[in-house]
Structure formats: C-alpha cells, structure tokens
C-alpha cells in the first residue's frame, strides 16, 4: 500500500514535469500537431533543393551536370550559415533603417530564441529553420538563368551577397509582421508562400544576371541539349512533393488553412501540367516530358502566392493561365534570343507575376469580408486588392532588378562571375570541381 502511494506520487511529479515542459517561458503551450506538421514541412522544403538540383542538372550538357547540381547544393551550405548568423534577424527582426530591413539582437546566431514558443504554438527554431529553406531555394532557383557559364567561386560570393541584399529585405517587407508590404491595405499584399519573395525575385534577378553576363558560348546556333531528362523528371517530381511543405507549411499551423493550401497546390500543379502538354500538342504536334515538368512548375509557381486565399476552381484557373502565359513567354524569349538558360524568368518570374496579380479575382469570400471589416470605410473590393497586388509586384520587380544589377556590378570588380572561354568549353565539372558526372556518353 505504501509503495503504491509512493509510485502514484512519483507519477504525479512526472506528470507535472511533463506538463510544465510544454510551457515556454512566456506561458504559450506548444501545439504538437502544428509543430509536427511544420517539422515535416521544413524537411519537405529542404527536399526541394536537391530536387531542383536534379531538375536543372538534367537540363544542361553532360560536361556541366555536376557543376549545376552543385549550384543548388552549395546554397544549402552558404545560405544556412548566413541565415543563422544574420539572415533570420534581417528578415524577421523589428524594423530598422526606416523599415528597409529588420534587426533583432536576440536573433543574432539565433541565440535569443532557445526557449521561444511562437503564438502559433510552434518553437521559434522550427519557424526559423522553415524560413531558412526558402532563403536557400531562392538563389538556387536564380542559378538556372546563368547555368553553364559561371565560375564556382564567384557564384558562391554572388549568392551570399544576393541573399543579404535582395532576398532578406524583400522577405522582411512581405512576411515580417511590421514589413510595409505585409501591412499594405486592410489585410496586406497577399503573398502566401513566396510569389513575390521567392519566384519574382529569383525570376527577375535571373533575367538581369543572364542579360548582364551574356549568353553561353555558341548560343543559340550551337545545339545545346539536355543531357538526361529522366533526372529532370525525377527532380520535377520531388519539387511537386516538396511544394506541399512549401505552400501548406506556409500556413504556420496544422488545420483548415493548411488543408486549403494543400488542395490548391495539387490542383494548380495538375492543371498547369495538363495545359502545357495540350498547348504543345497543338503547337508542335507532340507533348513532351519536359513540357509536362514545365507545366507542373508553372502551375505551382502561380499558386504559391495564392494558396492561402483561393478555392479549388481559382487554383485551376491559375494553373491554366500560368501555363498559357509562361509558354508564350518562352516562345518570346526564343525570338528575342537572350540566354536565360533554364527559363528562370519565363517560368518563375512570369508565373509568379501571373499568380500574384490574378489571384485577386479568386479570393474566397470570407477573406474579402474580413478585409472589408478591417478597412477604414468597411468596404473592400477585388479591384482594391488588385491595386495592392500590382503595387507589391511592381515593387518586387523593381527592387530585385536594380539590386541584382548592383550586386553583380560590384562583385565583378573583384571577381569575374562569368567563366572564361576555356573553362566554359571544358565544362564546369572539370574546370571547377575536377570531376566528371558520367562515364562514356554522347559528346554533347
């Protein structure tokens, strides 16, 4: 009897401990469901980066396959380190320098968030690591625009600087609670998971970089073919899977809004892919595997800013619209003849713009009612929101274009970003890594 009493006392103590363990210093309970989903999402978004490496890696010539895959991988190293030192603070700290960037001493080396639980019920570490993956994938996306022709060392400096001077400020404006785009209009400029921050900035930055550096040797008269479309398809598949973390994770919860974002994501990706191969079928007579992959991406990119506010039919229209317009954009690029090697602007830039602007027409009614309630005169129409969206997109395009130009311009004074002719002919793999991607293969 005595021992049972002791045991139950012990049990009581344990129970108390385990309960107090769930409280942070400021008394917010950890929502284990939301935390579990956010951890999963973080891993899913991380998976997109090797996925992107495969997607891009398959599209270049065999002499550049490792170098191109490394563009994605090295971003995981560089940006992660920068992120914990100052990136998170620049993005999610309090406004400094008139709101240009954020800063919070407690975020320096993440040393002040050891015990923090956010009001969403997840540890701040999880949120910080989730956001870290977005910061990684953005410069890695951009790298496709100047694939096959940049020096590895200069690329490393470039993505570090680009992340600090282009991504971090934009991210602060759009996602920090005191960012000025976050507070534009009654419910802010809508960018659920990174249409402006990730895709427009990478797309426009890529376009500027591609124009500044000039085209690859031999482009466009020399045939430049993808070395392995199977890898590209696998990469596109990983991107689609990872995008569930990207979009549904951006609800920073595990509930209704997560499910809404997840559904919209699936529908837009599928519609985008189908639309692309149908257009191809009519235009070229054949539906290609690369076309399907491009359609997946166009649909996903377009639904990224919209996933939190559109209903399924809206996601369907966005996917359809994105594929049509991106397809045209790539035809126009081929006519103009500039060398955006892997169509970063054509898909991410254009798709992001299409999504961020046309989402205004498909916002779910409950969101509009809330927006109207919090606006000054109690009214808020889709045209009002459209104005906000266009303004936000315009700001993102202008900022990304000017800052990317400055970053390359200054960097080029110290270290040449573009490969010299010999390195480019030898291929990035041999010139910068001393390795080969494959054994015996076709010469191109």
């Amino acid at each position: 009897m005595k021992s049972i009493g002791k045991k139950s006392l012990l049990l009581l103590v344990f129970t108390l401990f385990s309960i107090t363990g769930l409280y942070a210093s400021d008394g917010i309970v950890i929502d284990s469901g939301a935390t579990a989903w956010m951890l999963t999402s973080t891993a899913l978004v991380l998976l997109m980066i090797p996925g992107l490496g495969m997607f891009y890696g398959g599209l270049v010539r065999s002499k550049n396959v490792l170098g191109t895959v490394m563009h994605s991988f090295v971003a995981m190293g560089i940006i992660s380190v920068l992120w914990i030192i100052i990136g998170y603070s620049m993005c999610f700290g309090k406004n400094v320098m008139g709101g240009l960037i954020g800063w919070n001493n407690g975020y320096f080396f993440l040393n002040g968030i050891d015990n923090n639980v956010m009001k969403e019920g997840i540890p701040e570490y999880v949120f910080s690591m989730f956001q870290c993956k977005f910061a990684i994938i953005t410069p890695a996306l951009l790298a496709g625009a100047f694939a096959e022709r940049v020096s590895f060392k200069a690329y490393c400096f470039f993505i570090a600087l680009w992340s600090l001077f282009v991504y971090n400020p934009l991210c602060h404006w759009v996602w920090a609670s005191d960012g000025f785009l976050f507070n534009l209009g009654p419910k802010g400029a809508i960018d659920f998971a990174g249409g402006t921050v990730v895709h427009i900035s990478a797309g426009v930055g890529g376009l500027v970089a591609a124009l500044y550096l000039g085209s690859r040797r031999g482009y466009p008269y020399q045939v430049i073919r993808p070395n392995n479309l199977v890898i590209t398809m696998l990469g596109a598949g990983l991107l689609w899977v990872g995008w569930f973390g990207f979009n549904a994770g951006s609800s920073i919860s595990s509930g209704l809004s997560t499910a809404q974002a997840l559904t919209a994501t699936q529908i837009a990706a599928a519609t985008g892919a189908l639309t692309w191969i149908i257009i191809e079928g009519f235009h070229q007579g054949k539906s290609t595997a690369l076309g399907f992959a491009s359609g997946i991406l166009a649909g996903l990119v377009a639904v990224t800013p919209a996933a939190g506010v559109v209903q399924p039919y809206g996601a369907l229209v966005l996917g359809l619209l994105a594929s049509c317009i991106c397809y045209i954009a790539i035809q126009v690029k081929n006519k103009l003849g500039y060398d955006d090697s892997l169509d970063v602007f054509g898909i991410h830039g254009v798709g992001g713009i299409v999504g961020a602007i046309s989402l205004s027409f498909f916002i779910r009614p409950s969101w509009m009612i809330e927006a109207a309630a919090s606006s000054s005169d109690g009214k808020w129409t889709i045209w009002n929101q459209l104005g906000i969206q266009i303004l936000a997109v315009g700001i993102a395009i202008t900022f990304a274009a000017i800052m990317t130009f400055l970053v390359i311009f200054v960097l080029n004074r110290f270290i040449k970003l573009k490969s010299n002719e010999d390195d480019e002919m030898a291929g990035l793999d041999r010139a910068y890594h001393g390795e080969r991607g494959y054994g015996m293969l076709n010469p191109n």
């Binding site: 020399q222 390795e435 080969r436 015996m440 010469p443």
Partner: protein, 115 residues
C-alpha cells in the same frame, strides 16, 4: 577518297567543329573514345589524386574527296591545338587512310558523288 580520323581533346570539340563548318566541311561523325597516349590527366576524388590510365578523347571521322584532304587537315591542326598555337602533349593525332568505296544508302550512288 580518304578517311580522315582525328583524335582530339574533349574540350576542343566545339572549336574544331565550328572551324570545320566554317571551312564548309559539314559531314562528320563524332564519338567519345578513351585511349592512352603520352598525356596524363589528374582527377580529384575526395582529395585523392587519380590518374586514369585511359583518358577520354573525342574521335572525329570525316570521309573526303582527295582535293579536300589538305583543307580538312589544316583546319583540324589549327583548331585542335591548345595553348595558342604552341600545342601541348595531349592535343591528339590525325590519321589518313585510303577509302576504297563510299555508297549512299538512300540512292545507291557510289564514289565521289556519294561523299
């Protein structure tokens, strides 16, 4: 008729190909081969230097009529040399062999016209 076989560096393929096209020699066959000559190259694998005994090379085969032999050979010589015009060990070799017959499969044409 002659068959010109050139073994060149992988990295020079673009230059040689472009030069040949400029000299209006457009009908070529290119393959990836490996071989052992005087040259050694080093590859890095986890910090260990590896010297493969067979080095990847490109083989170009061109069947030409006799009056085109010189221009073809000169074009390859000029474009396949590295280090300016100095040349380095590993730039490759050119073999010229007599070609007995050449037949175009589509039409059955033979000889000069089929090349």
């Amino acid at each position: 008729m002659k068959l010109i076989t050139a073994i060149i560096r992988e990295v020079q393929l673009d230059k040689v190909h472009e030069a040949l096209i400029k000299a209006e020699i457009e009908r070529i066959t290119v393959s990836r081969v490996s071989g052992h000559g005087q040259q050694k190259i080093e590859e890095l694998h986890r910090g260990r230097i590896v010297v493969p005994d067979l080095i990847p090379k490109i083989k170009i085969e061109i069947a030409v009529n006799d009056d085109f032999v010189d221009v073809t050979v000169n074009t390859i010589l000029k474009s396949a040399r590295t280090d300016g015009t100095e040349g380095r060990v590993g730039d490759g070799k050119i073999f010229i062999t007599p070609l007995e017959e050449c037949i175009r499969i589509r039409t059955g044409e033979r000889g000069r016209d089929a090349i």
